[in-house]
Symmetry: D3
Subunit: 62 residues, 6 copies
């Protein structure tokens, strides 16, 4: 029943999302010994101005 949440800065196109989903599912199914059909992935595309590192937004206000 693995649940995976992937949060990235900015957007991904549909092919990128498909390849990430396939690849991450394969890794977890193989290494954790879980049936792939039980693996659910949610991808969150988060605007750069909503993410901070070291106290700074990725796109800071001017």
């Amino acid at each position: 029943m693995p649940y995976v949440n992937i949060r990235v800065a900015g957007t991904l196109d549909k092919v990128q999302k498909a390849k990430i989903s396939r690849g991450v599912t394969d890794v977890i199914a193989r290494e954790a010994n879980k049936p792939p059909e039980s693996i659910i992935i949610f991808i969150d595309e988060v605007p750069h101005e909503n993410i901070a590192k070291n106290g700074e937004l990725l796109t800071p206000p001017k």
Copy 2:
């Protein structure tokens, strides 16, 4: 202080969100013995192309 996060594929209308919130709050208040006014629910409506099962997006690229 229960916190609930509900993630669904696609969108819900406002009446659905209201009924889910009422129903889920009632269940948790009753079964977990928590004051309903302490229960917070966040509903996330996630696009089908951002969710994968069995390594496939719910709406795969063509």
Copy 3:
């Protein structure tokens, strides 16, 4: 493919977790029109000293 995360302060016994899971699944299946077998719930039991409200831990240090 609804995913639900319920975080409560303290612990629940197994019967409480079972009743909450049944009740929350029924509500979401009915109101959001989702097949119940697609609904996954994760319950997190969080120690009182790891939760704060109004800037105070639920069990503050002396």
Copy 4:
């Protein structure tokens, strides 16, 4: 490697997000003794109609 997720009802402007990020990073770096450059913050702006308290949406349907 602290990860922080802040979910607020409604929207924030960029200056608010920047000040929150700076302030929260400073607090965690100082009190938890973590290098500020290792602290990542994700801010989620959630519509009022997707949040419920006491079984009621913050903006209920009429």
Copy 5:
């Protein structure tokens, strides 16, 4: 700045966690075009009795 949260039922040994982390990081770095050193993964090992599917705990009470 990708953040990944992987929640599994039960426990994993350290080698499994290491292989999953390596594999998932490689997939995301390659497909999403992100520097691997910016990818953070948190693995949550969740007891079977805290996870439900179809309204039933993975290990239901007798």
Copy 6:
């Protein structure tokens, strides 16, 4: 109704959790203009072997 989740590697003592909760609540109340009594914080203390950066666990297997 701000909800904050802070995930740290390793453990914090109760005084650290109290100071972080107070400080983070003050920052969000002030900068986002939210009543402090509406701000809920959950702190997750995550074992080093369950966190990876750059594809490596913080405490890798030998």
